[in-house]
């Protein structure tokens, strides 16, 4: 016992090294297991407010770009509305809108931290629980799908970026509604791959890919990207398709968080029917 102690004291750098290395590695492992995502730190108060302060400085440099993006989106929305110059039947419009059951609620948020060069990329937003944000709500930008919220603190939230190989979303071809799953395996932040599109479907370069709306995270028809390249791997029944993402992840500043107000009901229903079968 004493000689063991003497050995340990003599070689204390090795002991200290092994101790700290084990501590770090156990952190890596417990963090990597998807269930313990609670290790995500940037949602916590200190780092969240730190990044927020920094991003408020950085914002000044991108003001003109953001203005341009907002103006473009305004134009796009106005064209969707297609309001005639003079319209006096406002009553009708309000009556109409009252009849619809609004399924999706959008909360604008600002991106305060983001990365594109890791195998697992995360995105931090400046809206949290007190703004009604909950885990599993989708994140979209004016140009397309961005990610999904996974962890929420009082005033910040952290989401999985689409650029995260731990996550996939249900995507479909806009022209013929065949659907598959979209995953990102790096390293290029502009390219993701679409799987499970059977070989008999005719596709061509430039085809638009949108969300399918099956997952109840995103509304149907949100832009994902366009087909950049595809091939037929030998011995496989599915295409291998490269998608050029429409969202520029390197240049995100403002996003919308999507809440599906019927999500709980849909999931409850699916759970019940799943139990029966």
């Amino acid at each position: 016992m004493r000689s063991l102690l003497r050995y340990l004291v003599k070689h204390y750098p090795l002991v200290l090294f092994l101790l700290l290395e084990t501590a770090s590695l156990s952190m890596v492992v417990s963090y990597n297991s998807y269930q313990r995502i609670t290790f995500l730190n940037s949602a916590n108060r200190v780092t969240g407010s730190f990044y927020n302060t920094f991003s408020s400085v950085r914002d000044y440099f991108s003001l003109s770009k953001v203005n341009k993006q907002l103006a473009e989106e305004n134009g796009r929305l106005r064209s969707l509305l297609d309001l005639p110059a003079e319209r006096d039947d406002f009553e009708d419009i309000f009556a109409d809108s009252g009849r619809y059951n609004f399924l999706y609620r959008y909360t604008p948020a600002k991106v305060i931290n983001n990365s594109v060069n890791k195998p697992f990329n995360y995105i931090t937003l400046n809206k949290g629980r007190e703004h009604g944000i909950k885990p599993d709500q989708g994140i979209i930008s004016a140009s397309g799908v961005v990610g999904v919220v996974i962890k929420v603190s009082n005033s910040y939230s952290v989401g999985l970026s689409l650029l995260n190989s731990q996550w996939s979303i249900s995507a479909m071809l806009k022209k013929n509604s065949y659907f598959g799953s979209l995953v990102w395996n790096g390293p290029d932040y502009r390219i993701a791959s679409l799987r499970e599109i059977p070989l008999h479907v005719s596709i061509s370069i430039g085809d638009t890919v949108v969300t399918s709306g099956f997952s109840s995270i995103f509304p149907e028809g949100i832009m994902i990207g366009t087909i950049a390249d595809f091939s037929r791997p030998g011995g496989d029944n599915y295409y291998s398709i490269d998608i050029l993402l429409s969202t520029d992840f390197k240049n995100l500043s403002y996003v919308d968080i999507v809440e599906n107000s019927d999500k709980d009901e849909i999931e409850e229903l699916e759970r019940i029917s799943g139990n029966d079968s």
Partner: protein, 167 residues
């Protein structure tokens, strides 16, 4: 002694801020991400006891981890580099040369500092990048990333020695 503590604390804070606010935001073609904070481990006094070097390495690693959502990865890489640092110094220094207390570029030969930086940065980045992907699949891609990033980190570290923390 007190002077040293103040100096290294300032260096710590400076390098962490540069790393998370500037270098982590700079990304080239999805491959390269320089990690300049290794400079802190490099510049600790040669005569510092091993436990202090290991502990200081762990500290800067964990702080970088907290700010980049990568619990434990940077800490593991830094502790590894900090533990091997005395071995590397012994390995690349000849006996007849006298040790300089501060292992900077000014205080040593350029070739010595370049070799010292390259070895430590390679050790650090190797652990970092393989822990980050957590598999040896796509070994070559990871290796390529780690090599490119190492070259870039070494470049930035050597360059910074002409400007800051010279003494």
């Amino acid at each position: 002694m007190i002077h040293n503590y103040v100096k290294y604390t300032l260096m710590f804070v400076f390098l962490v801020i540069v790393q998370i606010l500037i270098l982590n935001q700079v990304q080239f073609s999805g491959y390269i991400n320089p990690y300049m904070y290794v400079l802190f481990i490099l510049l600790l006094p040669v005569t510092a006891p091993p436990w202090l070097v290991i502990l200081a390495s762990f500290l800067i690693g964990i702080v970088i981890d907290v700010f980049s959502n990568s619990m434990g990865i940077h800490a593991a890489a830094s502790v590894f580099a900090g533990y091997l640092r005395p071995v590397v110094i012994r390995f690349i220094s000849s006996h007849d040369e006298e040790y300089n207390e501060y292992p900077g570029l000014l205080q040593n030969k350029f070739s010595w500092f370049l070799l010292y930086t390259s070895i430590i940065v390679l050790i650090h980045h190797a652990v970092l990048f393989f822990l980050e992907v957590f598999s040896f699949a796509d070994f070559l891609i990871t290796f390529f990333r780690l090599l490119l990033s190492s070259i870039f980190s070494v470049f930035i570290i050597v360059l910074s020695q002409f400007i800051i923390f010279r003494k």
